[in-house]
């Protein structure tokens, strides 16, 4: 599931809706006469499981699998809440995107504890932080197993870097910015060369990136208390981002807007933090005329990941044991490698990341960059971060405050105050 977050692809959404309606009759249960158990799995975007389903059905003759896919995450989420809230329609396995997962963690009773189905021994199959995201804070309940992650690198325009007198080789570029301070310094050097381009697209991605590297929690502590104004990690990430905005590095272009799309083609910004699922977007928007102008380097600081998903078994499922088995199969290192081969969904299992299929994976649009290797290192370097229930809505409010700084509508101090107040108001 490349988290093509919130980009409403009308066509896929329609196709998904059609698939969902046509599959409506396929209620969970035993298909008549055959004695087979039908497992319904709900997914969004593309998980790349078709091959795996066929394999599983072949090795489990009394199981048949029905995938009900909804094209965009934005269309999927309201439906998912509806299924969970009404206790009906969620099928046997549901895909959970990490944002919604952290919200559901406050209500874990809606999902089957996978520890009851022998998941405990699978811990080493997952990156530590990924495993912990679906684990309740008391460590007694595991509600999901990880599928893919948005392992992230820093994409940059070699032509603009060359024009600004900066190195263009991805290794040398990575060495320009071991830390975010040095990324800022590089940005200032870039601006001094006056290429007409900005250094990055918007403060949003940068801020998220820095924040996730700051420590083991962000807006919430592990007991779900709001600590946005007392956690130095948040303030550090904020200040660092504001410094970059004030240095003029940001192009102040809303991600996923038409201007942003055009920005790739026109070279409006020289770098952009790029999760694995964004490479396709960059290629598509930059077009063939810009082939080989983009490359991927490591991110400043220690690793970065944006987005990712889980599979979980809702308690409303009538075939919980069978469903849990299927989840274990799909999220196994082998399952993740197959999904990577099918749709380039980057695995969350260290074994899968080390697999040659991932390690040797290069992207020819990006100068044959060894993206499998770069993203793999980035994902492994990341330390676990605890996200609280309203992590996403709070994050939205903080990014809006940063945009207000970019637009010069608020001073950094006013914006910070507003972000904190908004977060407090939301949580109360």
């Amino acid at each position: 599931m490349p988290v093509r977050l919130r980009r409403t692809l009308l066509a896929t959404a329609l196709a998904g809706a059609l698939a969902a309606t046509s599959a409506c009759g396929g209620e969970t249960g035993d298909s008549a006469g055959s004695g087979k158990t039908t497992l319904v799995i709900k997914t969004f975007s593309q998980f790349g499981y078709e091959q795996l389903f066929a394999e599983y059905e072949a090795s489990h003759p009394n199981i048949s699998i029905e995938e009900e896919n909804i094209g965009s995450l934005g269309d999927y989420l309201p439906k998912l809440q509806q299924w969970i809230a009404t206790g009906e329609g969620a099928g046997d396995v549901v895909a959970l995107e990490e944002g919604i997962l952290s919200q559901f963690m406050a209500n874990p009773q809606h999902f089957v504890n996978l520890f009851d189905h022998g998941a405990a021994e699978l811990e080493t199959n997952f990156l530590d932080w990924k495993w912990r995201q679906a684990l309740t804070s008391d460590g007694n309940k595991l509600i999901g197993l990880g599928t893919d992650i948005g392992a992230q690198g820093m994409c940059y325009r070699t032509d603009l870097f060359a024009e600004a007198g900066l190195p263009t080789d991805r290794k040398a570029v990575g060495e320009l910015w071991p830390t975010w301070e040095e990324y800022l310094a590089t940005g200032e050097r870039f601006l001094a060369a006056d290429t007409g381009a900005h250094f990055f697209d918007s403060s949003n991605g940068i801020y998220q990136n820095i924040l996730m590297q700051q420590g083991d929690h962000t807006y919430y502590d592990t007991s779900n208390n709001l600590v946005i104004d007392s956690n130095p990690a948040v303030r550090t990430a904020w200040d660092m981002t504001v410094d970059m905005v004030e240095a003029g590095l940001s192009a102040n272009i809303e991600p996923w807007s038409p201007q942003w799309n055009a920005g790739f083609k026109n070279g409006t910004f020289a770098t952009i933090p790029c999760p694995s699922w964004m490479l396709g977007t960059i290629e598509e928007q930059s077009g063939p005329e810009n082939a080989d102008k983009w490359d991927v380097a490591r991110v400043p600081g220690d690793g970065a990941v944006r987005g990712g998903s889980f599979l979980a078994v809702p308690t409303q499922s009538e075939h919980q044991a069978e469903a849990a088995e299927l989840v274990k199969f799909l999220t196994s290192p082998e399952g993740q490698i197959a999904a990577f081969k099918s749709k380039n969904n980057f695995p969350s299992s260290p074994q899968a990341i080390d697999d040659p299929a991932v390690q040797n994976f290069t992207n020819d649009y990006f100068n044959d960059a060894p993206v499998g290797k770069i993203f793999g290192e980035s994902a492994k370097a990341l330390q676990p971060v605890y996200l609280g229930p309203d992590n996403n809505p709070i994050g939205d409010r903080v990014s809006n405050a940063l945009v207000a700084v970019e637009q010069d509508k608020l001073s950094p101090d006013e914006a910070w105050k507003k972000a904190v107040e908004d977060a407090k108001r939301l949580v109360n």
Binding site: R6, A85, G87, A106, Q109, P258, D396, N400, Q407, L410
Partner: protein, 322 residues
């Protein structure tokens, strides 16, 4: 029981010995039932469907709005606490002001232009049919398409409007950064789309005005403009009331245009400082983004109350003006 129905035969005095066959009684009964209940049956489908899809959700939303209802399912009953919180919520009032502001910016010019357009179309112009179809064209365009195109026209870096402003030496405007600029941009979309529709309603009303009124006015020496204000406008008053109420309701529910104009992953907030977040956007954000269904429902009910209030004010003004 006696059949009290007056019989034609008796009244005319002929064939008074003929009694109606007993089977008629059942027929009478059915006939009466038919006359009494059929009309209800004929209109029933609307009311049944309205009950299921209109009334029930309305009531259910009210019920939900009295709860702290989140993703975990039906929550605890908290009475009017959501409403109390709402009255103290600056984002709610901000959304109310935005909605009303854009309502004025979108409705007033729209209806005035529609009036002028209609009166032009009402008089002889060349290619009348083409023009009449032309004014209706925007309404068949999808809102999403309108939103996308206008968002590009009002883009900061590469937009057409900023390009044209540049020609006359005005600095580029970041249309999304301020209230006034974003309101203008969004109102333009609404006006563009709905002016023709209203013009057509006015035109239909104008065509039913008797010609001799104008002729008499012309004989009395009244100018075209005088005729317009003193004959046309009063004569199409019902149409004006209708369009004002309809535009008010539509304006209060403004959603798609500002949402598409907003762009990006958090477009529902209507700008970095909620410069153009409307009430329905705020409702959606609360219910489906923050997953506070109870609070979202309370916002929904406030929209309903506000629309009723505005409709009432419209109505009173119009009645008084009579």
């Amino acid at each position: 029981m006696t059949d009290l129905r007056p019989r034609t035969a008796e009244r005319t005095g002929k064939n008074s010995d003929v009694t109606p066959p007993p089977r008629r009684r059942l027929g009478d009964f059915l006939g009466r039932m038919d006359a009494k209940w059929s009309p209800y049956l004929f209109v029933a489908p609307f009311f049944v469907i309205f009950g299921i899809f209109g009334l029930f959700p309305l009531g259910y939303t009210a019920w939900v709005s009295l709860h702290k209802w989140s993703m975990g399912g039906s929550g605890t009953f908290i009475g009017f606490e959501n409403y109390v919180e709402l009255f103290d919520d600056p984002d709610f009032w901000n959304a109310t002001i935005n909605t009303l502001g854009m309502l004025v910016l979108a409705t007033v010019p729209q209806l005035l232009i529609a009036l002028v357009l209609a009166s032009l179309l009402n008089h002889g112009l060349r290619g009348l049919t083409i023009l009449r179809v032309g004014v209706l064209l925007p309404i068949v365009t999808s809102v999403a398409a309108v939103g996308i195109v206008f968002s590009q026209i009002y883009a900061r870096d590469v937009g057409m409007v900023n390009g044209m402003l540049g020609l006359i030496g005005v600095d580029a405007v970041d249309w999304r950064a301020d209230k006034w600029s974003s309101w203008i941009a969004i109102s333009t979309m609404v006006n563009w789309r709905w002016t023709g529709y209203n013009a057509l309603i006015y035109l239909a009303a104008m065509q039913s005005i008797p010609r001799d009124l104008y002729e008499a006015a012309t004989v009395d020496g009244a100018s075209r403009i005088r005729q317009f204000w003193n004959i046309t406008v009063p004569m199409i008053r019902p149409a004006i009331i209708f369009t004002v109420i309809m535009s008010t309701i539509a304006g209060m529910q403004l959603f798609t245009e500002p949402l598409i104009f907003g762009q990006g992953s958090y477009a529902i907030s209507g700008g970095s400082l909620r410069q153009f977040q409307t009430l329905s956007m705020y409702m959606f954000e609360k219910a489906f983004r923050d997953f506070e269904y109870g609070y979202g429902s309370a916002v929904a009910w406030m929209i309903f109350v506000l629309i009723m209030l505005l409709a009432l004010i419209n109505f009173l003004i119009m009645r008084k003006g009579k």
